[in-house]
Amino acid sequence: MMLSSMLVLLVTNPSVILAEMIGASASALQLCIELCAVYAVWLGIIEMVEASGLGEKLAKLLRPLIRKIFKVDDQETQKIIALNLSANMLGLGNASTPTGIKAMQRLDDGSGKATFAMIMLVVVNATSIQLLPTTVIGLRSSAGSQSPADIILPTLIVTFCTTILGIFLVHAIDKIIKKLRHKS
């Protein structure tokens, strides 16, 4: 992907390549500083949630669902996934990243191949059910919308459908792969 864009630029406008790369890297650095601030707040909050035992309660609530969807039995991992999903549902994409990374590390079996649960976590995060698309509503009202919140219901319906579809597809593909392996 990077190579093909560079090849095109070599013909059209070779002088911008380095400048663009450094510019993008600089904005990555800026993003990271912003993320660092966001993570500091959320990791602090998450630590409090865990220490107070609320994380455990949340996990207990979501445990049957997580066990069924992710096929994960380890309690600690279930708890982290529960926190990840809750942050996602609140529309806090950036807050869910630290827990997502942590969950991935726990799900990694060291084989270099993604496990079923890891794939599921990526797909569920990608299609995340958002109860409150806060950022979008904020942008929309500042753009002068008459009723900025009227996209909540359609968004809910669509994310609900895609999440169900994603979970279903990952399960189906996993089954097909296992079957093929049995045959060969």
């Binding site: 609140l90 299609t127 996209i151 669509v158």
Partner: protein, 168 residues
């Protein structure tokens, strides 16, 4: 309404911690400490994906791709005006919010196009970004079928969004 939800949750958490006799300050500091290490760990991955996206946009490849894909998208019921958003959404969060604002100013915040764009933003994620960052701290190099499935679901979500905004 939604402005109050987070503050209320935070206050509830602090009260609960007080009730449970947990030192909120110590735990907050302990958690917040992890932020810098985490950001340092994921910076190279964020940088490389942003560089790739920047090159892709400045080279004009995304415009070209949008042009090629727009008949296909039209066939699926996705208006041409939304092609760039749909194509860039999986790669960049800030970039796609930028496009969203352009759509608002060009077509008006209450137009069909803008409402579609909002629902698309809500039901999709920066898939490549999330996948890269999430597995960056593990030994896994390939995510097998995770990305195709995620992209397919987003596409279905986009088609659904364009349909639903017509009736609602």
């Amino acid at each position: 309404m939604s402005v109050f939800i987070l503050p209320i949750l935070f206050i509830a958490l602090f009260v609960y911690c007080l009730f449970k006799r947990i030192n909120t300050y110590d735990h907050f500091v302990k958690g917040a400490k992890g932020a810098i290490k985490l950001v340092v760990d994921i910076f190279p991955f964020i940088a490389s994906i942003l560089i790739a996206v920047a090159l892709l946009r400045v080279s004009g490849l995304t415009d070209l791709l949008a042009q090629i894909m727009s008949p296909v998208f039209n066939l699926l019921g996705i208006p041409t005006e939304l092609c760039e958003l749909v194509l860039l959404r999986p790669f960049t969060g800030s970039g796609s919010y930028g496009i969203l604002e352009t759509i608002f100013t060009t077509y008006g915040a209450d137009s069909y196009i803008s409402r579609c764009a909002c629902v698309i933003m809500g039901c999709s994620e920066t898939i490549f970004y999330v996948a890269t960052v999430y597995i960056s701290q593990t030994k896994v190099k390939k995510l097998l079928y995770a990305i195709p499935v995620a992209l397919f679901c987003s596409l279905i979500g986009t088609v659904l969004a364009c349909l639903i905004c017509k009736v609602m």
